[in-house]
Amino acid sequence: MKETASNSRYALILISREEAAPAVHPLEEAARIAGMHPARLRHYCRLGIFGPALADPAREPAFDDDQLYELRRFEHFRQRMRLHPAALRLLCELWRKVEHLEAELRFFRDR
């Protein structure tokens, strides 16, 4: 559903969550959203940087909104900063560890 209030000072757009984006994205779609070739994303999955490892080639991993955010951030650093995938892999691992540790710290501070 999308509404536009033309008589208001600003355009007012009402948009539902479902219309904005589905929660899970197949690999090809995730690659398109992240601005990378699907083959590249498949390669990263095989390396274990993103998603589950492709043990079964017939089944491709799907990506949720969190993983899409990571993919876009990854691609941003790869293209803009020219970072090597090995460095990016390390960066990804560190990001995840920091987020995990932040959650742990928050829990222990509150206890």
């Binding site: 600003y10 009402l14 479902e18 904005a20 876009r72 941003h76 932040e102 928050r106 829990f107 501070r109």
Partner: protein, 312 residues
């Protein structure tokens, strides 16, 4: 932008210890929590204010930054934010002051902090996608458990020929969201240039602190206060859960620090099942004691063969 006095919000002094802050937050949060407040609207607003204050003051780094900021702030002063905001949010549960100075983990990577505005593009002239925009979204534990819909407003200032506009979104918070999870609104970030696609809007879930529970993944932890005789004799205690008051059997001979589990009453896991509630027992010593109680304790001390230490 208005300065937010977080110490005043929690009713503590500027030298309050972390334990005093926690105590003050829990005391006030029990009164103003939206589930129990008499005036729901006022209660919700106050609860958000308390959460924001505790979010900043419970983190030593954020607290130090806040104290430095407060020392420079003049009464009645309307400060400019540290950087020009590309978008302004309302409805996230956080004030503009928090959004400007403390959102996003205090200076961690944010996609909108792209210094030259080239977004995720490869930099070729005049066509590049819009930047992603990220904001924190305050979600209560009940909303995380059952899901909710939140009205969120974004005001984008006019720039590069684009008219200023305000967009309102009905964002569905899916049941089972966790701390740090991101909700993506495709194409709702900054506009692209030269016909390129706009960026996305990411809402990062920040779970509101609860007066009774702390969250660890899908499990909830709380304290269960016991009198010494309750720990010795056992008791059926009523404890609050997200599903209402529940009865928990405390077995006889329960030690202080024991963890008792209420299965399946926590938050939702990824597989749809629910986590557990863990109640950690705390045995309190009665104070003051009357002369009669003193005599009874003395009688117990004489009768009992219990030795908590080797030299007892």
């Amino acid at each position: 932008m208005q300065f937010q006095d977080y110490y005043q919000a929690l009713g503590v002094t500027r030298t309050a210890t972390p334990a005093a802050l926690k105590l003050a937050f829990r005391k006030l949060a029990r009164i103003h929590h939206p589930d129990v407040a008499q005036d729901k609207v006022a209660g919700e607003a106050k609860f958000k204010e308390l959460n924001e204050a505790y979010e900043v003051l419970s983190d030593p780094i954020k607290r130090q930054h806040y104290d430095e900021l407060g020392a420079q702030w003049q009464p009645g002063h309307q400060a400019a934010p540290p950087r020009e905001p590309e978008v302004e949010f309302s409805g996230t549960g956080f004030s503009d002051f928090f959004e400007s100075y403390f959102a996003g983990g205090g200076g961690e990577f944010r996609t909108r902090a792209d210094p030259d505005g080239r977004g995720f593009a490869d930099g070729r002239a005049f066509t590049h996608p819009g930047q992603d925009v990220e904001a924190d979204l305050l979600v209560t534990l009940n909303e995380a458990l059952t899901g909710a819909t939140r009205k969120l407003t974004l005001r984008r200032p006019s720039m590069d020929g684009h008219a200023e506009r305000t967009d309102t979104y009905q964002v569905k918070i899916p049941a089972g969201v966790r701390e740090g999870k991101r909700i993506r609104l495709a194409g709702q970030g900054s506009p692209g240039y030269g016909g390129a696609a706009p960026g996305d809007l990411y809402l990062r879930v920040r779970l509101a602190r609860h007066p009774d529970f702390t969250v660890q993944a899908a499990d909830l932890h709380c304290d269960l206060d016991l009198a010494p005789w309750e720990a010795v004799l056992g008791i059926r205690a009523r404890i609050p859960t997200l599903d209402g008051l529940m009865s928990l059997r405390v077995p006889p001979g329960t030690e202080a620090g024991s963890r008792l589990r209420l299965r399946g009453l926590g938050l939702r896991r990824d597989d749809g099942t629910r986590g557990d509630i863990y109640a950690t027992t705390r045995v309190h010593t009665p104070r003051p004691v009357s002369a009669e109680e003193q005599a009874l304790w003395q009688q117990l001390a004489t009768l009992s063969t219990f030795k908590p230490r080797k030299d007892a």
